[in-house]
């Protein structure tokens, strides 16, 4: 048998083998489980973050510094330290409600319902985005779309479909490194499938046994030249948070 006759058959087998290896790897990876592991990595019982919110609206860059204390996914308290205009602003999230206190007015405002959809302090995030109170693995059904190379890393691309039709973003896409269970990128879509927002997770560091991104870059893709960067300067997990931080009595000067 000549080599010319053998080669096409061999090449075919090789291609089939490659496809079966790729598909079997795709099948091997349990998308839902991977998402759960990602949640497990990101969410702690309690968390303290001191960071900077860098809001670039295309014409002007504003930097807000804040300290945040979070308990699970349902309770959080943030205190803005600068710039002078925002200094002393406090936000308290308990369940589905968000209270905001501004020292200039010396009043607390309940941001609920449709107000949650407004842009938070002119950023690319809405209050709703900011106070997302569900783990992705609980709110979405994940399926593996395939693999992609991202900055030299082979990442799994998960397609997430919301369980509940009340979920704000009905579909999302997440680029996850299956090796260390970290999300590198996320895209959020409208019901129609139109891409609305993208989030890049960067500068991962191992902090207290967890891989945590130091930088998150939010982009509202319907707007031009805007982005909001969230830089975490200090991250502490499982910290003891005083009970008064999650009480409305904290919302005063």
């Amino acid at each position: 048998m000549s080599l010319k006759k053998i080669f096409p058959g061999f090449a075919g087998i090789l291609i089939l083998f490659s496809i079966s290896v790729v598909s079997s790897r795709a099948e091997e990876l349990d998308a839902q489980k991977l998402l759960e592991q990602v949640d497990e990595n990101l969410w702690a019982d309690t968390k303290f973050i001191s960071g900077r919110l860098i809001i670039d609206n295309g014409r002007k860059v504003r930097i807000l510094t804040q300290d945040s204390w979070m308990e699970g996914v349902t309770r959080s308290y943030s205190h803005y330290k600068s710039p002078p205009r925002e200094k002393g602003t406090k936000m308290l999230k308990i369940g589905g409600k968000l209270w905001m206190y501004t020292p200039r007015t010396d009043r607390k405002i309940l941001i609920a319902g449709h107000l949650l959809r407004q842009s938070m302090m002119g950023s690319d995030l809405s209050y709703e985005d900011m106070m997302e109170d569900h783990k992705l693995s609980r709110a979405y059904a994940a399926s593996l779309e395939g693999y992609e190379d991202m900055e030299g890393t082979r990442v799994a691309v998960l397609h997430l479909v919301a369980h509940d039709k009340k979920t704000t973003y009905q579909t999302r896409k997440a680029w996850i490194n299956p090796e260390n269970k970290t999300v590198l990128k996320e895209e959020r879509f409208a019901k129609s499938g139109k891409k609305l927002k993208s989030i890049l997770f960067k500068d991962y560091e191992k902090i207290e046994g967890r891989m945590f991104p130091r930088t998150m870059i939010f982009k509202d893709l319907l707007k031009e030249n805007t982005q909001t960067t969230y830089k975490f300067d200090v991250i502490e997990f499982n910290v003891k948070i005083p009970a008064r931080y999650f009480s409305q009595s904290i919302l005063k000067r």
């Binding site: 319902g113 449709h114 107000l115 959809r117 842009s119 919301a162 039709k165 009340k166 979920t167 704000t168 973003y169 009905q170 409208a190 019901k191 129609s192 139109k194 609305l196 319907l222 707007k223 031009e224």
Partner: protein, 389 residues
Amino acid sequence: MNWDIARKNFYRQGMRAFLNVLVTALSIIALIFMLSLLNGFQAQSTRNLVTTDIAGGHYRAPGFDILAPTEWEDHTLKVPGKLLQLPTTDKVEVLVQQGQLYPNRRLYPVQIRGISMDQTLLSLPLDNLKNFDQKIEDVIPAVVGVKMARKALLKKGDLLTLKWRDKSGAVDARDILIVDVGDMINPRVDDGVVWLRLDHLRSMTDRENEVSWVAVRNYIGAVDSFDFQPVEHLMADLLALFNQDRRNSKILWSILMILVCTSVFNTQVLNIFKRQKEIGTLMALGMDSNRIVRIFTLEGTLAAIWALVIAAILGIPFFIWYQGVGFDVTHLSEATFPVRETIYPDYQALEIFYSLAIVFVLMVLAAWLPVRKITRLDPTLALRGRAIT
């Protein structure tokens, strides 16, 4: 006899009488103009609101408030049978939702207003929306007003993204095509409003058969779970403004009338002072002092009559000319008043008649009040010109 004496005396006053008459005539013209302009303003804005938005009133979902956009989505209801039965000539179904438009990829918050295409009750430039035959899957057709187009830098044929929430709260976004830039005569349905077909908006937001309100030609009685809001309620802000304007115009009118009456009063006082000898002579010849008062009052009345005549001679051509050119209120239409660039006075005969009657009575009173003292004059002193010092 009295009339002849009064007429002669009046004409003898010359320039003084003429100036009195002229000032009064100009005041009358100003009064009629002011009232008619307000009438025209009110009539035009009411007409514009009625023909483009409120018709004969709204049956609204309870709690719906056009000034609370964050709550629009919470106040929609299915159209009840009683309103469904109305012919399309007598009702308009409207669904209002909050949305975000991205012209040139910049955020522009808008009111998305879906309106039934088979309606004939409201007069809106939505023909291109009605005749657009592409399916909603391809692109969503929309119409915006001229003002909205100018502010958001939009033009016919533009394709841009619209974002909204469906009934469950899920965010959705699609491309919309501006199929027309319509000339809306009411800025309240133009500025910040994106007009869509009602069937499209219902399907986009999963609100089958739901409305925010149903505008009707006439009130048809109570309808279950809907609140009726009459025209007066829907344009209460404007009516309050007009009432305030009328109050202000009354103050201005009162000032004008005080000036006119003072002028007449002053003339009469001067007349008595200067004509003391004439009064004394008439009294010495046996004329009753009350009759002298009547003669002097008639002189004032004559001034009022001439004022009306001069007002007619000067005013009618002015009013006819002004009816042609109108009053430029571009600044008001920019400030969301439902008026076009120009308003035209609306002259109402009964109102003018009453106004003229009031002016006439006030002038006669102003002429009579100072001459009453004639009855108390001593004829001998009057003859020597020393009765009034």
